[in-house]
Symmetry: C3
Subunit: 497 residues, 3 copies
């Protein structure tokens, strides 16, 4: 493209040159990708094997376990949910972040990159912590491992939402490397040591991921971010693209919360609860969004994000007997709190606490995640044999082995403890990782180039200059206006065609 | 955004002020959302419980029924289809309606809102009519209830298509409240009293929903709708977005028609028939669309809509032994009729019958639904033991209990009777509900503001004025032209960037 | 639309008139659609019946085979994968091709048309070759037949990628008719006669489809294609739309490679391998893409396409015990090779071999397909009883019946032979079909109208003229410039609004 042959483009490049950071990632990005991928291959070669349901010895396993039909393979219990979760990770998270007018490539593309790396590293980290076979020293993977790897990646993608548009892909890969590592450890503490239940990850995924991202964003605070203000809004079609992400997350959240719950009633119940909770959230989100504007107009930011809060908050309790109206109540309050978060808390976080949260993950993941942890603890503590049945209670909370004497009250306490662990891991881990990402070697963009795909992507299409919300007339009569400092005096808006 | 600082925008707002209706929904919308959601919570608390396959007593149910494996839980028979149906409701219907150049937020967003409300109300209404346990006074829900709730919502979303862009979200919620109520009653009459079969809802969903929407649109007729003509077309990208809706509806329609059919061969056959019928429809739609233009060009309106008619028309007969070529024949004629509907019948409806049908639901749902009802009646009447087998015939038409002596001919008659019930409920119900919606309290837009997201949504992006299909040169040389009555003389087209 | 009332549009039409080919398809397209669809109905009536799992006699089949539960119906093993494959065919392939700035309707719409026709013809062709019952002379279809029909269509859609924007819909239908025919024959030779394994179709689908398309494109070479250069690039939103296609292909590829593998461990293992291979491909694609630009920027063309190469290359070996790290290695190299293909090989093909490959199917399908065939041959030849188990080896390679004495080495040889068959069928078949498509009766566009939806679609939206990458100033000051030959001197770019 001959983009450089126009005054406008040349001018812009010249103009930016003096302030521009070095965003050349031609060395770092390929090196990181190659080295890490080769490391993955070696570590997989050493550690990862097919489990007994996915290797060719299944025919003998079946005979040995008196399994009469292939349909008993765990694959058929979990594959539909797995694919839904997979869509949430790649299309859901990816497109949800395309709302910015000129950062769709980065939203979808970097989401794609870090999820693809993260899931490999997650299989290893989760394998070492959860399922390393002591005899063979191997990790045996099956469909449930893939779901857990996707879950682990979700935590890092949530964190990406806080720093969207302000970091380089290399920083994102580093953030994912440490995020997955921290995730596997906190998950091990919460699920295995504390024996808390958290099938949909209100605590281990959303609370951890939310605070991890917020802490990183706090360390990477940019006081001059207003210099890229022209790029921060959405345009009409970018908001429509974002709704693709919202809807796929919303529709498939029942699969997310039920993907690794118990076979049979466990998966069935988790789906019903999540379905209902999310429906309830939509109505209260719309209500608060409409209340927040003088004429009752709705704000796409709320519809795109807060409608999902009910799913987050049911991550822990969806598999419990929270009852259908209980799920509706959780969704009801999450819609209100999350939307009010966008209206009141996000500006407060930015101004007072110096946390710049591009996607508002505090309102969509961190707060609803904490609510979900609390709801889970209360629901667990309130469980009773009369409601669950004797065996049902044991199955639901897995009161077997070392934990067979645990009472529901104790369980509630451990659930609450798990909540705290995930917050601590998120905040402390995020602060440390943020410090690493602050090193000036990662190729992050200058303040005035944030939220702009042109920094890391070949963008083939010209942008048209706009002035005060409409095409700038001076542009046509006198392109010289665009040379030099007058440009900022005009406060132009660039919107895409 | 500083949109108000341009002449154009100021002018536009001033200009419109005198005629504008009060579209302020800051009071009504939140009140309706809150009150209805709280009512849902209370009613769910009183009535709705998990069924035996989704509560923790499943372990005892299994033992009691000699079920050996969790995979026998109805969840595993229906969950993949349920998720497909869920995608059709939220992404399919939502994005199908984004074809208008400036109503994508309303299409996807209001669809999201009314579906989320409707499915809750549907669980209650359908529960009261179909599955209220007389002993406990409770409604027990499982995965099949969720599918039925989504189906019920589909009827209302079809009706939304007729009034798209011309009503307020409050009107839509009212329309959904009554729509779901009427749906549950007509469904009860058709399926339970008449004992007609209609697994994919040609009659109960599409015919009812279609006529319900058309009748409402007839009552709400706007003689001056041409005042918002500039907003009624599509733009390039809005047509592409609409194809997302079309394709997800088309691809998942086999799941729609098979979601609640009999386990085993019932679901299997319904998928095959729908898959084939839809494929056939695409070819005849393309043929007629090409024939309708002087140079054989295709029209996206036809491709987006008429390609789906075959799925609608197989809603009743898909589970029958209509045979693969039978499904192809149904699809063949539906593609022709539906496309001709867009070319000839829609203009006739608008001019002569004063029915303004934004999405052409008459061609996509009402007509093909009626065809589907007739096909179902004929196929049922022509069923024979030689084709179905003795037990197969009983299973397919559920000739058990009170209906065990019914013949296939009688069944065909009752199918036809069901057809009439759905039309009557749609037309009469729609006329009544339309009268309610005509009250001047719902915040509906003025004739010249129809099909414009700016009425109910915060839209952050400027529009550029176009004149005679290209950017208006006068705009740049003399912005004063835009002040006052000259504007309408110019007949400007607003198209989004 | 009053598009003709502006100088610009009038000029453009006048200007093009002299060179324009006759693209009127008002006769040919409807005739082809009608005749072929009627032929399908007749042939289906003669040949196609429900198989024993999808007809009402299933109740007797079950009893006869001592099947205790409906969940044993093949439908429940394969339906979730089928729906994923269906999404890949219609949304995946369709949207992947929307990257061109002004060919989204053609990409999604023609993809829709030819897939809908192709799957019907595929059911017949594959039925005659693979499953014609010799006693009854009928083809019995079930869910696996539908998957195979979708697979067959995939081969033709791959070929469409090479000629995207340069052919008429009639040519595409002809290409699909012959493509499906050739596919069924080569598939019969490879899978039945040579008894090669190729569940995900590295050979039968991707290699064949790739070379079929390339050979057609070679025959249809247009030396003056540069005349439509202004239409060949992407714009910002068209690249975002294309990512919808990319991601749905990427996410559902595990379902593609596992859809028709053995029940149980076969499907389970194929999913794990494909999931891992694809993840690995993303990292190396990003690495090479970044390396290829001076400043390390990423190119959407690579991200949209090369990230999928790992799935193609695991089409044969995914069901084997290639082991998780083996899958990573395959993905690793495919990402590198495919991306380098876009950088180095595509320009070479166009300049030296005169093959114009719009979507780069050589890099995404042909090369990775060949790699997949080789990997499959090697993995098969290296299989051993110690890894697979005695029965596992027999099951995996289906060493039963006539092939029960085959060794793994022989099997490796036959796999390699299958590879060659698919290349030969693709190249020779494509050359012949290309010659047929060269006849001047199909309504293909002139060189300067390629990649433009206006040729075959009613496009309602104006285009704005751009010059040197930004809005052309002369356009506003002097529209006369656009009349006549000066237009080409200006080398204008048309970009959509």
């Amino acid at each position: 493209m001959e983009r450089n042959s126009t005054n406008y483009i040349l001018t812009r490049h010249t103009y930016c040159f003096c302030r521009q950071k070095n965003t050349n990632i031609r060395l770092t990005l390929p090196v990181v990708c190659f080295v890490w991928q080769i490391a993955m291959i070696i570590l997989f070669g050493v550690f990862i094997r097919y489990d007994e349901e996915s290797n060719t010895h299944w025919v003998e396993t079946k005979a040995h376990n008196n399994i009469t039909s292939d349909i008993e393979n765990d694959f058929y219990f979990r594959y539909p949910s797995f694919q839904d979760v997979h869509v949430m990770i790649f299309v859901g998270f990816g497109f949800l972040m395309t709302f910015l007018k000129r950062y769709s490539f980065g939203a979808v593309g970097f989401n794609f990159l870090i999820a693809s790396f993260g899931l490999q590293w997650a299989l290893l980290m989760q394998g070492w912590f959860h399922s390393l076979d002591p005899q063979t020293g191997k990790i045996f993977i099956g469909i449930e491992s893939l779901i857990n790897a996707d879950f682990c990646v979700a935590g890092c993608l949530i964190a990406y939402g806080a720093v969207l548009g302000k970091v380089s892909p290399v920083q994102l890969l580093v953030m994912t490397l440490f995020g997955v590592t921290l995730f596997a450890v906190e998950e091990y503490i919460i699920l295995n040591l504390l024996h808390a239940r958290d099938a949909g990850g209100s605590m281990v995924i959303h609370t951890f991921g939310g605070y991890y991202g917020l802490a990183i964003s706090w360390v990477l605070y940019r006081p001059n971010l207003h210099q890229s203000k022209r790029m921060q809004g959405s345009v009409y079609h970018s908001d429509t693209f974002a709704m693709i992400g919202t809807l796929f997350l919303w529709m498939f959240w029942p699969s997310f919360n039920s993907a690794i719950t118990d076979h049979g009633d466990g998966q069935h119940r988790a789906v019903i609860n999540t379905y209902l909770g999310l429906a309830s959230t939509v109505l209260t989100t719309v209500a608060i969004s409409s209340l927040s504007q003088k004429t009752g107009k709705l704000d796409m930011v709320h519809i795109q994000n807060s409608t999902l809060a009910g799913g987050v908050a049911l991550g822990t309790a969806a598999e419990f007997m929270i009852s259908p109206y209980g799920a509706l109540i959780v969704g009801f309050f999450c819609g209100i709190i999350s939307t009010m978060g966008y209206i009141f808390i996000s500006p407060f976080l930015e101004k007072t606490l110096k946390i710049q949260d591009t996607c508002g993950i505090h309102n969509l993941h961190a707060m609803p995640g904490v609510i979900g942890g609390i709801v889970g603890a209360i629901t667990a503590a309130a469980a009773s044999e009369s409601v669950y049945g004797k065996q049902g209670l044991i199955n639901t909370f897995d009161f077997t082995g070392d934990f067979k004497d645990r009472t529901v009250l104790t369980q509630g306490g451990y659930q609450a403890a798990g909540m705290c662990v995930s917050i601590v891991f998120g905040v402390v881990g995020g602060a440390i990782v943020g410090s690493i990402l602050k090193l000036p070697i990662w190729g992050d963009p200058a303040d005035e180039n944030c939220f702009d795909d042109e920094v890391y992507w070949e963008v083939r299409e010209p942008m048209v200059m706009h002035w005060h919300g409409t095409l700038c007339p001076e542009f046509w009569s006198n392109t010289n206006l665009l040379k030099g400092p007058q440009r900022s005096a005009l406060n132009p808006h660039y919107v895409q065609l």
